[in-house]
């Protein structure tokens, strides 16, 4: 089957029920998207399908069709997306394992709600677990990214 991933159409040979996560990681070699729970509980595997955040660990690859997949590798080649810049400025990451998923959820949130409130952030980001406990700085970075997106500075 064909998959449109990060702007490139790739041919993959995968059983239809194989979760998109493992197709992305093991067959296409994009390892930025992480495995955390396998049951849509932790958000580490979050990718976008046509701009919507989905948990790729429970998304059978056959359901994707011609829709566009975006992974952390497709957000920017160099960490220059406003959300990534905000993450760097707020010194968010610790172990970093959950952060691809956190950033994918934050990018999707800001594309839909350019100026999120704390309640918006709670709603959009509570599906992403971070065991290092970077939540305080994630919240700060989402607000900061909103300002950066509008062309605002620090």
């Amino acid at each position: 089957m064909k998959l449109d991933i990060n702007g490139t159409v790739r041919e993959v040979d995968a059983p239809p029920e194989m979760p998109l996560l493992w197709v992305i990681r093991d067959l296409l070699g994009f390892t930025g998207t992480k495995f955390g729970c396998g049951m849509a509980q932790c958000g580490a595997c979050t990718v976008h399908i046509d701009g919507q955040p989905v948990r790729s660990c429970v998304t059978p690859v056959s359901t994707v069709g011609a829709r566009k997949i975006r992974t952390i590798e497709g957000i920017s080649p160099d960490g220059s997306h406003p959300v990534q810049r905000a993450w760097a400025q707020a010194d968010v990451v610790q172990c970093g394992y959950c952060q691809s998923g956190q950033i994918m959820s934050a990018v999707a949130l800001l594309e839909q709600v350019p100026d999120p409130t704390d309640a918006d952030i709670d709603a959009a980001m509570s599906g992403n677990i971070c065991r290092c406990g970077t939540y305080v700085r994630i919240r700060e970075a989402v607000h900061l990214a909103a300002r950066l997106q509008h062309g605002g500075g620090k």
């Binding site: 990451v93 172990c95 970093g96 952060q99 509570s126």
Partner: protein, 720 residues
């Protein structure tokens, strides 16, 4: 004073070779301990820790694993402080596994005990100073001027108008003899230490490029998923691989000893293969551990004193309790906890003749190396040479990846050996949660006698719980006279008990089939809760404000008292909390640092909500305050997960929780606002990765009591 890993750090006077030799020579521990301490230790081999490239890049090799705590930045910062390099040119790599990278206190290559910064503070600064000395001498030779006339700043050597960047003389500098001694900077001249330095690993971690163990891929590498016993104590009876081998992508099914590995082209095929695999297990003898039964047994054991803890006996406890004006008796109960790091366990292994390569996120390279060597028949003295470990980024450690038995590494080596191909064993979340090596379950029973002013004059404390160190290579260091110091750290040495006249602290260490391990903040996960809640109960029983009462007991402990006063002031303790909320506080010393917290809570439809946490730490010198702040915030989140949710229960030896739906952890909506205050002190540098984990649960429990008058003594905290 109980025996802790910090004592291990202090008393390992046999030096860097001490514990390492112990791993080579079973039974040789006493000889090693008796060996005289070497004279002045030689300077570290700077080339093992630092490379300066012709492009001016400075690469620091890390003896400690990066698992979120920030050593990737902190250790580099120590080198850079003395080297006077351009910080923007600094990169890090995990060091290979080799004796030269042994922990300066533990003697084995290991990350743990909140010790990366304080144990490396001198070694990494020294390496930077040595390299600077060599660069200066190389430039002096080039210019034919005295070394003393050369100035160094931001990676540039200068003499008058002449300038050379480090890269221009790095090659010549490397050929020079290293200095015999170096002079480290006066603290007043520090430019980086003590300043807020952002992380060096951010660029790869925000772009998905960071390579964790689970991300390792190379041609020919297969993925395995292992069927392990469904209960602790269960044994593999028989298996039939035929159905698994029919799953497309599955290539082999191999036994692992007490499990069966399904080896496939990729994870998904391996997982489906394991589902199809037919395995039969022999149930545990005696039916296996059952939580309700175990807790009843622990409570029964707590009724009588156990083994006496070091410095845990003073005065006549029975008489003092009988004579006390008020007597309080409380029992506290703690469940098994999984570490539940975000990255499930995994390990990749490639065996080539009598050499082996391992890719994994590990906190304990030496132990892993020894375990792999033993499996492969490599002599111990050749392990460091023939077992190559590539330490990957750790997707969280929290102690689980410092496995004395090297469980997840050893298993992967067994699978790769049996399969005859390179294999990456990947654990599912369920495997990770069922795999053991938990924070042990405990019961504390405390009887306290108060005098007419409410002061504790008699303290009788019984702890019941499994030993973490027993049966591991660490046992000779940590278990003394039948008492595992990790089980009781923070009790006999509690700041509150110094002037208590009658004291008896004892420990029962029952053995069970459930493997246990250190879990972020280790003994303090339960001792801080028992102490801080019992002290709160004593304050209430004597009609005193919890802060005033504690300050009265801490008169001889100025650091504790100052920190507690600070955190109380910052939290607004003297003014009433917002309507519907209450505050609780706790202070605890562990890993050489003191952490104090005030939690502000409410109860919403029976659910405890923590809105705000005011935290303060005194860790001596804060090398990177930004990292300290992150560790405190993160410790609050980690400890709060245990306070509100964390609980593994067993039935028939099988763990009943399996994933984040039934082993919940703190999420964004649970996360309180955390404000961190760092007290700068001249005290000996403590650790910061763990100490702030301990106070949050008792601070929340004490706040819940203030709000509801319900004294919650069982974790996780649940309102009646």
């Amino acid at each position: 004073m109980t025996v802790t890993r910090r004592d291990l750090l202090r008393t390992s006077a046999a030096g860097a070779a001490g514990l390492f030799i112990a791993f080579h020579v079973p039974g040789g521990l006493r000889a090693v301990q008796a060996a005289p301490a070497p004279a002045a230790p030689p300077l570290p081999p700077a080339n093992a820790f630092l490379r300066i490239g012709a492009d001016d890049s400075v690469t620091v090799l890390l003896a400690h694993s990066e698992m979120g705590q920030g050593s990737w930045t902190g250790l580099a910062l120590l080198v850079a402080e003395e080297l006077e390099c351009d910080w923007s040119k600094v990169r890090c790599e995990h060091a290979p596994a080799a004796p030269v990278y042994a922990h300066t206190g533990f003697g084995v290559q290991m990350t743990g005990g909140s010790s990366a910064t304080n144990s490396e503070f001198n070694r990494y600064r020294t390496v930077g100073a040595m390299a600077r000395d060599m660069l200066v001498r190389a430039a002096a030779a080039r210019w034919k001027v005295p070394a003393s006339s050369i100035r160094v700043a931001s990676g540039v050597l200068s003499h008058g108008k002449d300038q050379l960047s480090f890269g221009k003389v790095a090659g010549e500098a490397m050929k020079l003899a290293p200095p015999r001694t170096v002079q480290l900077k006066d603290p007043k001249d520090w430019k980086l230490i003590g300043t807020k330095v952002r992380r060096l690993d951010t660029p790869e971690k925000i772009t998905g490029k960071a390579q964790f163990g689970i991300d390792v891929q190379f041609p020919g590498l297969r993925t395995a998923v292992v069927a392990r016993p469904p209960a602790f104590g269960a044994k593999l009876a028989k298996f039939d691989p035929s159905a698994a081998l029919k799953v497309p992508g599955v290539e082999q099914v191999v036994p692992t000893g007490n499990g069966v590995a399904v080896v496939a082209k990729h994870f998904w095929a391996a997982k489906l293969g394991r589902q199809a695999l037919h395995v039969e297990w022999t149930p545990p003898e005696g039916g296996g551990v059952d939580t309700a039964k175990q807790m009843a047994e622990f409570h029964a054991m707590a009724m009588t004193p156990g083994e006496l803890v070091d410095k845990g006996q003073r005065g006549q406890i029975d008489a003092a309790l009988a004579a006390a004006k008020t007597k309080l008796v409380s029992e506290y109960e703690f469940p098994y906890l999984a570490h539940a790091a975000m990255e499930p366990l995994n390990c990749a292994v490639k065996i080539d003749g009598d050499h082996c390569e391992i890719w994994t996120g590990t906190q304990f390279q030496t132990g892993d190396q020894m375990a792999a060597a033993a499996i492969l028949g490599i002599p111990k003295e050749q392990a460091a040479e023939k077992v190559k470990i590539h330490t990957m980024f750790l997707g969280g450690g929290f102690g689980r990846r410092a496995s004395p038995s090297a469980d997840f590494v050893a298993e992967a080596v067994i699978v790769a050996k049996a399969a005859g191909v390179p294999v990456k064993v990947v654990w599912t979340r369920e495997d990770d949660m069922h795999g053991g090596y938990y924070r042990p379950s405990y019961v504390h029973r405390i009887q306290v006698g108060l005098d007419d002013k409410g002061r504790p004059v008699a303290w009788d404390h019984v702890v019941v719980g499994q030993s973490i160190a027993a049966g591991t290579p660490f046992e000779p260091f940590l278990v003394k006279h039948g008492v595992d110091g990790l089980s009781v750290e923070g009790l006999a040495d509690s700041a509150y008990l110094e002037s208590t006249g009658a004291l008896r602290i004892t420990l029962h260490s029952p053995r069970t089939a459930v493997p246990v391990l250190w879990w972020r903040s280790v003994g303090a996960t339960h001792t801080a809760f028992a102490m801080e809640c019992m002290i709160d109960e004593a304050a209430h029983a004597s009609g005193q404000d919890p802060l005033t009462y504690r300050m009265g007991l801490l008169k001889e402990k100025p650091r504790h008292a100052a920190l507690l006063q600070l955190v109380a002031d910052k939290a607004g303790w003297a003014s009433p909390p917002p309507a519907g909320r209450a505050r609780g506080l706790a202070v605890h010393e562990s890993f050489g640092s003191i952490a104090a917290q005030v939690a502000e809570v409410s109860v919403d439809q029976g659910r405890i909500r923590v809105h705000r946490v005011t935290a303060a730490v005194d860790c001596g010198l804060a090398v990177n305050p930004l990292a300290v702040e992150a560790q405190v915030q993160g410790s609050v989140a980690y400890g709060l997960s245990a306070a509100l949710y964390g609980q593994l229960t067993l039935s028939g030896g099988a763990v009943q929780q399996s994933n984040f739906h039934d082993y919940p952890v703190v999420r964004m909506y649970d996360m309180p606002h955390v404000e961190v205050h760092i007290v700068s002190s001249n005290a000996r540098m403590g650790g910061i990765g763990e100490p702030a984990t301990a106070p949050i649960a008792p601070a929340v429990a004490n706040a819940v009591f203030a709000l509801t008058k319900q004294r919650l003594r069982t974790l996780p905290l649940k309102l009646a």
